[in-house]
Symmetry: C2
Subunit: 410 residues, 2 copies
């Protein structure tokens, strides 16, 4: 009998329990062994009185670890106590499956080695892209490629908000409120809208793709909360749409990684991704451009990925444990290619002409948008074919950089 | 030392050799073992005098089998002699990797069992979707799902032709000629444009997805060679675009599978796939809609998938060999859902009114297109919300079915 312990009985945890129960017969046929969920760990047992699984619900962590458990499935989220529980589980030679991107982005290097040392598996497919198969294909199917870039919509909440802003002309605040009402955004949406959630997922993807150790806290990460209707208007005019993109690439062993709103063409793969869907575009030197698309969150999509990890622990026993390389990445803060940029500078009316003439002086090709619909107290410009580093340095010379908003055209 | 024999030195075979040579050091580091290409089998050795690998090129099949070869990589294509060579290789307990969809669609059931019996691997990731990781994700990552449908653009040649017809108003013949000039279409393009290539790939995908034995020769397969500018015009008017789609689904253990040109929305995932790219959309009951996108053919994209299979043979030694289920599918020729249809009926002018009145009599909701740009000797109708079976039966009653062209709106 295979024994599974689930940490957490929230959306993902209960979805995993549901999938295991649904597949209990097919697992038995496949493995010639029964499977059972032996314990489900929660914070407060009383809150789960109405759960079908109440008889196996516990709020004592020691119950999990003293049980004869084969696989610990961590669906609690957050760094602590998930970190401690996983560490203990691995040391006691239990396989671990987790959907926890915070944890893998922060402690993946240590925990994956710990799994290897103890000759057990630590799988985390669901931590990036929810139900989209991405980490295992990246590791197993692109092995003949040097991955050269990743561009991805990694957060469903913010993509839903941007879709509503773009298609229904909602303000950021109204779109956020709608997302919260529909259950797509949490009460505290900071980690989503500020980009921390996307940055952690980009961190995990990039660690695997480039085989270097990255730290998302050093990435350039800009949220979507500063976007307004004028950004949306301008992007529409350009035949584009604003998307919240995690992007990384590697050139001569230098890695750039950032998360920010950018304008992408409406006809591009990422431009077509709407609402709560995610998409990951990977460029490999042999395979060219590949894209993966699907639901990046939600009960059963996420549980589908967790469940596949559980089955891979049980079936593919000799699969190589993926490790993160401890060699630190040579990280570039600024984007590596010349790009076009929307630049908005808050100005007093008296300074408008000065700012415009400075822009024309500093940059080769500048277009000043004088549309009546745009705000009167800003210079609204498109600056063509400039490196990000040069853009920022040049702007800093003649204006207060705090009054400047830039938006990359990808 | 790991020894690889490659059957075929064409586009794919030479790409595989290139990738192995490029990665020779990283393989050595990973496996603590060297790797070499010991032999490359060709039909006529003299034609390969200028190949870098001439010293290991042979035209004697027995050279391959008597060598101490670990993995046979079949990149010849076609049924024979690939079938015989692979059978012999498996019986001699050599692992086999192949990109051959004809062979796997026809003999997969037998060859996969033969591999299992002999305790070796037979992998064929490159046979569907070229460089796109699809078979391994379908098997390993969607194991918690019942796949309910597959919709896919599986042939780059025909997608290129349709893109040119749609975007540049080329006729079918001109678009085909252009594809041939650019090397996207073969001198004999029958298998591509008639849909046999797509049907074989759909057969392989569906065998795995529904765990049943399908035979593409029993599918409804309609080529793209009958499409003309009026189909393109009409699809544009509807906000759609004509794509060549392999589609299968399962309802109550009944499977429908067909390959045909259909009209899809321009804004759908498949509607955005252009030129030689492929895309596979899979619906699972847990994960919802997933899509995979990339290059479905070409030297290095295909070699990337073959190479990944080779590495999986070497690294994941205990991976479950995928088998096809011998239980035959309960196949439905007609599409299972009510759909809207474009119906074109060749008529003598005197019969036009009779045909139109019959259409209105037989079908609930009919729109007759009277646009001046459409051909004068046809009734050009849109018929709404009808089962395919009912559509065909009803049309047969009052007109010569040979004079009818139908186009599904997906």
């Amino acid at each position: 009998m295979i024994s599974i312990a689930i940490l957490g009985n929230g959306v993902v945890g209960s979805g995993v329990a549901e999938l295991i129960e649904k597949n209990i017969n097919s697992i038995k046929n496949k493995l010639n062994k029964g499977i059972k969920i032996s314990k489900i760990l929660v914070k407060n047992k009383d809150k789960h009185r109405n759960s079908n699984n109440y008889r196996i619900i516990t709020d004592k962590p020691e119950d999990i670890l003293k049980e004869d458990v084969d696989i610990v499935v961590e669906c609690m989220g957050g760094l602590n106590p998930a970190y401690e529980y996983i560490k203990m589980s691995l040391k006691q030679k239990k396989h671990v499956v987790t959907a926890n991107k915070d944890l893998i982005a922060k402690h993946g290097l240590e925990l994956l080695s710990l799994a290897k040392e103890n000759n057990v598996k630590l799988y985390f497919e669901a931590s990036v892209g929810g139900g989209i198969p991405i980490l295992r294909p990246l590791k197993n199917c692109l092995i003949g490629n040097n991955v050269t870039s990743i561009k991805a919509i990694l957060n469903g909440t913010t993509n839903f908000i941007l879709t509503k802003m773009s298609k229904e002309n909602l303000s950021f605040d109204k779109a956020l409120k709608l997302a919260q009402e529909l259950g797509f955004a949490e009460a505290d949406p900071t980690s989503d809208i500020k980009g921390y959630d996307s940055a952690r997922k980009l961190n995990i993807l990039s660690n695997i793709a480039y085989n270097r150790n990255l730290d998302w806290e050093t990435f350039k990460v800009e949220g979507i909360d500063k976007l307004d209707e004028f950004d949306i208007l301008k992007s529409n005019r350009l035949g584009g749409t604003v998307k919240f993109i995690g992007i990384s690439n590697i050139i001569n062993d230098k890695i750039h990684a950032s998360v920010r709103p950018v304008i992408v063409s409406k006809d591009s793969i990422l431009g077509k991704v709407e609402n709560e869907f995610n998409s990951i575009v990977i460029e490999g030197d042999s395979v060219g451009e590949l894209a993966f698309y699907g639901k990046g969150a939600g009960k059963l999509p996420t549980a589908s990925a967790v469940y596949a990890d559980i089955m891979n622990v049980l079936i593919n026993k000799k699969e190589d444990q993926l490790l993160f390389n401890k060699e630190p990445a040579n990280l570039q803060k600024s984007f590596t290619d010349k790009k076009d940029w929307i630049v908005r500078i808050k100005v007093d009316n008296k300074d408008r002409h000065k700012i415009i003439s400075k822009l024309s002086e500093k940059f080769n090709k500048v277009y000043i948008d004088t549309d009546d619909l745009l705000p009167k107290d800003e210079v609204f410009a498109t600056i063509y074919s400039v490196y990000e580093k040069d853009l920022e340095e040049n702007l800093r010379i003649f204006t207060d950089i705090n009054n400047v908003k830039t938006l990359m055209i990808l």
